[in-house]
């Protein structure tokens, strides 16, 4: 039997009332000297014993009635799953200890360990107990053991970690572990945590415990979590190609407390030198965005930090990220031979307008390109290049297979058959006939995949459809190609396909003004820039989250460099990608030092920003959510997946208790009245 509102057991103190009344009313008989005792002695005295029995009976009735009322208010219920269980048999228990970052708050984890030990002590000697810790993931520390001492030493060896919290994941792991054990006794999960809200979202909850698993929650977080201000995110471009950082470093600061906070110093440092400070204020439960831009960067990796001096929970008051300044790679624009003005004028102008692009472009005509020099480039742009030599075509195919990036655009000079034939293996689509709209008519670019990196910047405006296209090639995408945008008639406009280690983007209209007015619209510049960025380089994150895996490139060296953790320890991980890059799973926040020869590299790792939100999870909703409706308060057990009728049926016992209490009170009234009548008649 369990209780929905065990706090009402405090009402048991009310039992003192009838007992006190009984004792007070039963005050010691006053001793009185009385000379005519001889006449008193002649009166039968059986009544005294009867009266005493009556009084005791009355007291017992009152006590029992109060006790039943108190129990009724605690809303007892019987767990249906356990009813079918053999409770006499030894069961299995999984103790789940939260060792997420939020448990680093003072005293919390020690309390969790103490409660875990208590839970261990409460288990029967022959009960099998397993120990798991969890944050966003779970770790099995001890599989089912009947030796409590080993589990106890496992508990004591635990420490709080740095990662966020995921209660569902922990319960999944615990139930999976429970499924391994064969027992006819009860199966139980004891979850010990501070139960913070970010760890479980009812709206996205998908997991429920099975019917025969009981859940006991032990909350060590207290009911009044401390206020906390945290840096929850920093948005920055991890790699730049100019000295000045022209994008915005966007810092998100949140106040998770219920009290406003003024004069919060946001300190931006690069390589431990303060670049800029901002003073901000935050209302309760408020978030602010602080932006930094226009600062200079050194060549290579730059260690950047954002600090807020709030003096509260320290781990989320500093955010780490890296900004690497690199030299732009070489890129080649190949165009068709032309007289007079270059067909690539607009393209060149657009590419030269942004110093942050990862490429330095060179323009050549198709006939002047030395195939042997192609390997010097990282990106090739075939801008309506017309017929190309077979040598150049073969070189381009090899270039793509070796990891090169190619952007192909068509136009009036493009011969579909020739292009299809020469770049057959790498072209994402087979070009068909060219389409020219009637005079005064045009088609728009529609069906755009705005979630693609090229088009994500247009997601808000949606103005891409305003470009008027008057000429394009119909095309047939290859099997491995992805159509990123289409024209109104459904013909692909931008197609992408990976071949070998490289990638080819095919734009079936022109990048110049010959077949569309895109170069004359404000859309052109971002479209070209996004396409070049996407095609030309792999985006590198400025930081990784705890638990994520980042790669440490081998660069020109034969082996990946040694890696030191933020705490200074040498990392022993040896997992490599097929290309020989080292895979590192981030385990602690700070800068991982990548010990390259010459200039070292850095990888920034940060905690989960939401972990600083100590707001309490609604435990009733949580238990109800993961157990199927039988929500209970902390410390009690819950069974799950019961229908509403079953849940109601299990809880209906309070009604019977109240009824019995009422009957007892009626009996008490009758007895008390009878005693009074006896007095009056006497």
């Amino acid at each position: 039997m369990s209780f929905l509102t065990p706090l009402f057991f405090l009402g048991v103190a009310a039992l003192a009332a009838p007992i006190l009344v009984h004792l007070v009313r039963r005050t010691r008989a006053r001793r009185v000297q009385f000379p005519a005792l001889v006449f008193v002695r002649q009166v039968p005295q059986r009544t005294i014993r009867r009266r005493t029995l009556h009084n005791i009976l009355l007291m017992l009735l009152r006590c029992l009635a109060i006790l039943l009322i108190v129990i009724a208010f605690t809303r007892p219920f019987f767990s249906g799953g356990s009813a079918a269980k053999d409770n006499s048999a030894a069961g299995a228990t999984v103790i789940l200890i939260d060792n997420s970052l939020s448990m680093r708050r003072e005293g919390l984890f020690a309390e969790a360990q103490r409660r875990a030990e208590s839970a261990l002590d409460d288990a029967r000697n022959d009960e099998q107990v397993a120990l798991m810790s969890f944050d966003k993931r779970y770790t099995v520390l001890n599989r089912f053991l009947a030796e409590k001492n080993r589990v106890r030493s496992g508990i004591m060896s635990l420490t709080a970690g740095w990662d966020g919290t995921d209660y569902e994941q922990a319960l999944r792991g615990a139930e999976s572990l429970l499924s391994e054990v064969e027992t006819t006794g009860p199966k139980r999960i004891v979850m010990i945590s501070d139960f913070q809200m970010p760890g479980w979202t009812q709206a996205s909850a998908t997991f429920k415990l099975s019917n025969n698993t009981q859940l006991t929650t032990l909350d060590v977080g207290g009911n009044n979590p401390p206020p906390n201000i945290a840096i929850t995110n920093v948005e920055a471009r991890g790699v730049v190609f100019g000295q000045k950082y022209l994008d915005n470093v966007v810092v998100h600061v949140s106040n998770f407390g219920d009290t406003p906070k003024d004069h919060i110093q946001v300190d931006f440092q690069i390589n431990e030198q303060t670049v800029e400070k901002r003073d901000i204020s935050l209302n309760s439960r408020d978030s602010r965005v602080v932006e930094f831009t226009g600062f200079n960067l050194n060549e290579g990796a730059n260690r950047c930090t954002i600090d807020i001096g709030t003096g509260d929970f320290a781990p989320d008051n500093r955010f780490y990220f890296t900004l690497r300044r690199e030299t732009p790679a070489k890129a080649l624009i190949i165009e068709g031979a032309s007289r007079g003005r270059s067909d690539s004028l607009h393209l060149q102008s657009a590419l030269s307008a942004d110093e942050t692009l990862p490429f330095a472009f060179t323009l050549k005509s198709a006939g002047s390109v030395d195939p042997a020099s192609v390997s010097d480039y990282k990106l090739m742009v075939l801008n309506d290049a017309g017929p190309i030599s077979s040598a150049l075509a073969d070189t381009l195919v090899r270039f793509v297979n070796a990891g090169g990036q190619v952007i192909v655009s068509t136009g009036p000079k493009t011969q579909a058959d020739t292009l299809n034939a020469s770049l057959q293996t790498v072209l994402p689509a087979v070009l068909r006939e060219a389409v020219q709209t009637k005079a005064g008519e045009s088609v728009a670019i529609t069906e755009v995949k705005f979630d693609h990196p090229i088009f994500e910047v247009f997601q808000e405006s949606g103005r891409l459809a305003s470009a008027n296209v008057i000429g394009y090639f119909r095309s047939e995408p290859r099997a491995n190609a992805a159509v990123l945008a289409r024209f109104e008639d459904g013909s692909p406009a931008l197609v992408e396909a990976s071949t070998g280690k490289g990638r080819v983007l095919l734009f079936t209209s022109s990048l110049g003004p010959s077949w569309n007015d895109l170069p004359l619209t404000p859309l052109y510049l971002p479209f070209i820039h996004q396409m070049v960025r996407y095609a030309g380089t792999s985006e590198e994150n400025a930081w990784s989250s705890l638990g994520e895996t980042f790669t440490v490139g081998k660069q020109k060296e034969a082996a990946p460099p040694a890696v030191d953790t933020p705490s200074g320890a040498r990392l022993s991980e040896t997992r490599l990608t097929p290309d020989g890059d080292l895979l590192v799973t981030a385990r602690e926040p700070g800068f991982y030092r990548l010990r390259y020869n010459g200039a070292p590299g850095f990888a920034a790792v940060n905690i989960d920003g939401a972990e600083g939100d100590f707001t309490k999870l609604n435990l009733g909703e949580f238990i109800a959510g993961v157990t199927g409706g039988a929500g209970t308060a902390e410390g009690s057990e819950a069974n799950r997946n019961a229908s509403n009728e079953e849940v109601e049926s299990r809880q209906r016992v309070w009604w019977s208790l109240l009824l019995v209490a009422l009957l007892l009170l009626l009996a008490e009234s009758f007895l008390a009245r009878r005693t009074k009548m006896v007095k009056m008649i006497g």
Partner: protein
């Protein structure tokens, strides 16, 4: 019990004033208590001539009227009325049961002391001889009846020294007193009479046989009649035997009252049978009421 310290305590002026207002009535009714107002029930040899009677052999020659013999040559004996030479003994029960007071501040023994003092004072004003006997398990105080100057001080002194204690053997004590009080007179018994009526009857008969005129005052506390306790339960203790008994007053009350009423009736019947003046007094009743009642009952004697 709070013993009286001075005889004056029993002569409360207010009380005496109230008793004094009854004095004329008392003289008119009770023979022998107040000189000149009533006849002594016992013919004695005082100086007041009442009648002649013919001399019979054996008569005391001191009372022969020699003058009449000289004038008439007949033998006559002079008869005189005695001048209040009556003896009155006040018998006070001082057993532990008399040391009881429920609501009032006067215990039964104190009330008995007041009553005895008042009676003694009245009797002394009438030049009667007053004696005092106090007894519990046995007679422990005996002041013979006297009519001398200063005797009252002795009476009052002894009265004030009385203290309750010991068990009551009332019948036995009365038998003992019947042997002690050789000269006949009035015997006033002040007690709660917690003894069996049949045994008391024998002792009354004994005293009557000795020629005493008996007056019995049964002094009780009102609560001994009512058994009116507010407590739900009591542990009653017998003052004489220290026996204890838990009781529920509301349950016991009716039975007790019945038995007490029967006891009092038995006492009245016993007294009536033996020609004893019996009066039930409670410690709340004024003393003048007791005296008035007493004198009223004595008026016919």
């Amino acid at each position: 019990m709070q013993p009286a310290t001075t005889p004056a305590r029993f002569l409360d002026p207010e009380l005496l004033g109230r008793i004094g207002s009854l004095e004329l009535l008392a003289r008119a009714v009770v023979e022998g208590f107040m000189s000149g107002l009533h006849r002594s029930p016992y013919t004695g040899f005082s100086t007041e001539f009442t009648e002649y009677r013919q001399y019979n052999p054996g008569d005391d020659l001191r009372y022969l009227d020699w003058r009449l013999l000289g004038r008439t040559d007949r033998y006559f004996i002079k008869k005189y009325r005695a001048d209040t030479n009556t003896q009155c003994h006040l018998l006070i029960d001082t057993s532990a049961s008399m040391d009881y007071a429920h609501a009032s501040s006067v215990t039964k023994l104190q009330y008995a002391q007041f009553l005895a003092a008042s009676l003694a004072y009245l009797l002394n004003r009438q030049q009667d001889a007053v004696g005092l006997v106090a007894f519990a398990e046995k007679v422990h105080t005996h002041v013979p009846a006297r009519n001398r100057t200063g005797h009252m001080r002795t009476i009052f002194g002894n009265l004030s020294m009385l203290q309750a204690g010991g068990e009551t053997h009332l019948a036995a004590s009365l038998h003992q007193l019947a042997e002690i009080l050789t000269r006949r007179g009035i015997v006033v018994i002040i007690s709660d009479f917690y003894d069996q009526a049949d045994r008391l009857q024998e002792s009354f008969q004994h005293l009557r046989f000795k020629g005493h005129d008996l007056v019995a005052f049964q002094v009780l506390d009102q609560n001994e009649l009512d058994f009116d306790f507010k407590d739900p339960v009591l542990l009653l203790e017998d003052a004489e035997t220290q026996e204890q008994m838990p009781v529920l007053p509301d349950v016991v009350m009716s039975g007790y009252r019945e038995r007490m009423r029967k006891h009092v009736e038995d006492m009245r019947r016993c007294a009536s049978t033996n020609n004893v003046d019996f009066e039930l007094l409670t410690t709340k009743q004024p003393l003048d009421f007791a005296l008035f009642s007493f004198l009223s009952r004595r008026s016919g004697k």
